[in-house]
Symmetry: C2
Subunit: 351 residues, 2 copies
């Protein structure tokens, strides 16, 4: 299996995706360029939401007339900032580029949406406007990241829900497994429960109860996994509550930065280190690329009506392009989630 998900377009569809063009730190450039790349590579159709004047001008400069046909601008007057309190912003700015993108999905004009904006606001807005799929108790945010075996791992929830119940974790396992199968094409991904010891009895109250539920699901459940397993490639789907998952994700981001900084400092201390750095910079570029999350496009919000991908604020065009691809593929993911959860499997625990 490759580190990258398949690049094929979803079967039989030129699915339309709404892209919040005002979300990322560099908006609207990464969004416009990423949308154009998705049009070229996947034959995607895009609805770009945001300031119409700016978008029209930028798009005219960047796109050919044929490409221009595949991208429609949908005006939105407001923008939700990165640091705005999410819930308040979602309630007050009803004409934001994010709201308009969500409404396009709700109205069926787009199959999904991509936003690199305020993560809390995207989650709140998507849950409010789109709602949950039938049978889903709590939508979950899934982080996709590379591991040492050059495959991807998916961890959920990473921040949509704090204070989870065991049945929430059970649904996260089901949704994460479906997502992994659909996006990475693996038949039986391994599912692990993030805990603090491998034995069944290890963990806190939540994980011990969740363990009992997960072992009864028709999944490839491998039991508890530990923090060190996130990156060793021995588990594909890692289940945890949103508080723990969010802490885990932010530690990882912070530590990768720290290691990079320390290493650079160490290398610049001596002349031979500097020479070594120059000679090995191609290796560094390769190393950096292996840790690059942009190939995955962003974090899917699983369990809502529509394919919602939340990209990093620092997303480049490549990340937006990939997020659009994954949003299109989420169509099948959601059908499967609805199928699995609406028949009450997770609620009843036993098949």
């Amino acid at each position: 299996m490759s580190i990258l998900p398949s690049n094929e377009a979803p079967a039989g569809a030129a699915l339309t995706i709404a892209v919040d063009a005002m979300g990322s730190d560099g908006a609207p450039h990464p969004e416009i360029t990423g949308a154009l790349q998705a049009v070229r590579h996947y034959g995607a159709r895009i609805l770009l939401t945001g300031n119409a004047e700016i978008l029209r001008r930028e798009l005219a400069a960047a796109a050919s007339p044929a490409e221009r046909q595949a991208i429609e601008i949908v005006p939105a007057d407001e923008v939700i900032g990165m640091d705005e309190p999410a819930v308040r912003a979602v309630r007050s700015k009803r004409n934001s580029s994010l709201h308009i993108a969500c409404r396009l999905v709700r109205e069926g004009r787009a199959a999904g949406l991509v936003s690199a904006g305020n993560t809390g606001a995207v989650m709140a807005c998507a849950k409010m406007i789109l709602g949950s799929l039938p049978g889903v108790h709590r939508p979950a945010l899934a982080a996709v990241f590379p591991n040492i075996r050059n495959t991807a791992s998916v961890m959920l929830d990473v921040g949509a829900n704090v204070d989870c119940r065991p049945d929430h974790l059970e649904q996260f396992a089901i949704m994460g497994e479906i997502y992994y199968r659909a996006i990475f094409g693996m038949e039986r991904p391994r599912v692990g429960l993030l805990s603090i010891g491998e034995e069944e009895g290890k963990g806190n109250e939540l994980t011990r109860e969740a363990y009992a539920r997960l072992r009864q699901l028709p999944l490839h459940f491998i039991g508890n996994v530990e923090g060190r397993d996130l990156y060793n490639g021995e588990v594909e789907v890692i289940v945890c509550d949103g508080f723990v998952g969010n802490v885990a994700l932010k530690i990882s981001e912070g530590l990768v930065e720290t290691v990079r900084t320390l290493l650079k400092e160490s290398l610049s201390r001596t002349l031979s280190g500097k020479v070594g750095y120059v000679l090995s910079r191609r290796a560094y570029a390769h190393f950096k690329q292996r840790l690059d999350y942009s190939e995955y496009g962003g974090a899917p919000l699983l369990g809502v009506r529509g394919g919602v991908i939340i990209s990093h604020g620092r997303s480049n065009a490549n990340a937006i392009k990939n997020a659009i691809r994954v949003a299109r593929e989420s169509h099948n993911v959601n059908r499967a989630i609805e199928h699995e959860l609406s028949r009450g499997r997770a609620a009843a625990t036993v098949e």
Copy 2:
């Protein structure tokens, strides 16, 4: 402030420390060599617990007659293995090197102990045999690690307690702050609560309630910190429940390994990368040293009667030497913890 704690011996004391000589992966060599170094550097007195015959032979080969005087062997017939279930092993192997070390502390023959053995067993044995300091609800395991500013950060609890209550976190804050002041000599270390957003309202039920308590303590409480703050040197004492802390610690360990492996792989892909690696290997050694936890000796178990330092199973002699130093310094830490907590400050919340 330096990354290293002060190397001075504790005021007016040649405090005796018990060292479980059978704990580490390479036992008893790191323990014996580390004990000898502590004798030489700090004038420490050591009680080595373990197989008397082996220890006598090894010690005779390594120590001068004068050094030999400072180290007493206390025979212990049993050894608790790294993978044994902790609670059962602690109950059944009452003549283990770990039990004997704990008993030496309880009997007042040693002021503290160092073990690089099974962490769960050390915690269980120390809590059972030594008991908690007056006023302490739950002893906590504190991890000490380097950050990007070349100072140390302390995080607690990292595994002694899962399912904590807000008042437990409050005591962790007090104990961690006292420890940091005593060991790293900083007057007003910053104390942060590990959560998933900086604003007061962010987090789960536990952290929101703990926040309200921590802000009333006479500490330099800086509010919520996030996973990314663990390594940026903006906070000295990080408070969390033992489940979250243990996950955080193991993610960090796993990720540092992962980054090292990926980087090495990337560098060995090309000839120039290999040349670069050779030229920069001194920088690598320096980099590795900056991430080296052995300078801190190990993780203190705060709140028990006696200075208990749990070292990593992979400890080398340097880690054991440093653990012995910190165990000696813990004397003052415990006095301060008892003073603060036995007057019920944390229980009553308000001064």
